[in-house]
Subunit: 210 residues, 2 copies
DNA sequence: CGAATTTTTGATGTCTGTCAACTCCAGTGG
DNA sequence: CCACTGGAGTTGACAGACATCAAAAATTCG
């Protein structure tokens, strides 16, 4: 591995890489500290980790970094080109390759969930949740439109870091404002998906809904 | 893999496994839904995921499950003995094995962070944060006692889902109550570690500190 | 149909956020 | 050497989003 390694030194406050940049490298912290974070459009930030010497970074989803990494103070990093790194993995089984893919996908969604829990309002949380359920249904080749909620309101609340009452009120408000319809308590029809997307991403100024 | 697979069927509300159980199996959801969660001593719960057909579960840290998994509704699972599964990985390189270990450790701490963000009070968040910094210092063979804070208060706030003001106030309160001393703004001496641990785990009833 | 559970709705409280001012400290230059 | 400056951290007053407590409405299930 030493053959493909490059040592990188960065001053404090420098960016290692930005979220959405092509994920061409994997890094290992040698000295100093790195801050890993995600941002919402309006600037709200969720720091998902602080890295110390020995820690790795460079997690990607479909070839792009899933977060921004910045030096808290002067930092030394070992950089490995992902492409060359993958040739070192050439011999590994399809099975363990899949395991790694699964693990890194789960990590990406874990970080999205941290952003949700730490920085989103109740309304944004619920909207994000409904959309993610819808997207996962599509991934399983199921219809996206009537969103099926197999879990109880209590479970949703504990997933979103809210109370049952707030989840219920928020859903009611979305119904009243014409974004959704509850055909039954466990089945939701989205009437205005664009609006729901705007709410989820925090692009809406009218954030106090209840 | 089919040779070592066992099909498991569970009724709604049944437990697949409990957090801290020996992690002898890896599971794959075939049908139905599973809820994955962590709990604090006083019953506060953080659901870290809802699983649909195709999803995997059974993440472990040092041989024990890192969370509790329960059937939301009747569920069918494929169960793989971890021991036998590992023999299928026998041929893979030490490198990719380490990658998997790193990824799964990161997932475990991501879930701890979700519990923190979703269900802990400001005081519990700060206490947990200081202790985790201390523990990571130990893991790097550094002293645990004077906790070094390389990051700004803003970064801590964005990591814990709080504001700078709340982080500052909370630290001040810990100083006033004799749990800590701030030698400088970036260096903390813990005076009563037991108390800090109790606060972090939510074992203290006097939760309104500010 | 009736009891139990889940969901929804309402009234009130509080933890943490917001806005603002003050303090502390590092760096700069006179 | 020390006043000046700007950013980071702390403290205070007040406000608001969500929690808590309580009860009604809807749904489930024997």
């Amino acid at each position: 591995m030493n053959a493909i390694r490059t040592e990188i030194k960065l001053d404090a406050q420098r960016t290692v890489f930005f979220q959405e940049d092509p994920a061409d490298y994997l890094y290992n912290v040698t000295d100093g500290n790195v801050r890993v974070s995600k941002m919402l459009a309006d600037g709200r930030r969720q720091v998902t980790g602080f890295l110390f010497p020995g820690d790795f970074l460079g997690l990607s989803l479909n070839g792009r970094y899933a977060y921004t990494a910045e030096a808290i103070r002067a930092v030394t990093l070992c950089r490995f080109p992902r492409e060359k790194l993958e040739s070192l993995f050439a011999d590994i089984t399809v099975l363990s390759q899949r395991m790694l893919t699964i693990a890194s996908n789960e990590l990406v969604s874990a970080q999205d969930q941290m952003l949700l829990l730490g920085r989103k309002s109740a309304m944004e949380k619920v909207a994000s949740f409904l959309l993610s359920l819808s997207e996962r249904a599509i991934a399983r080749n199921e219809p996206a439109d009537p969103i099926y909620l197999p879990m109880a309101r209590t479970d949703i609340a504990d997933y979103l870091g809210l109370t049952v009452e707030t989840v219920s009120r928020t859903l009611s408000h979305l119904v009243k404002s014409g974004v959704l319809t509850l055909s039954t308590a466990t089945e939701i029809v989205v009437l205005d998906r664009a609006h729901l997307l705007d709410i989820a991403d925090g692009n809406l100024s009218d954030t106090n809904y209840l």
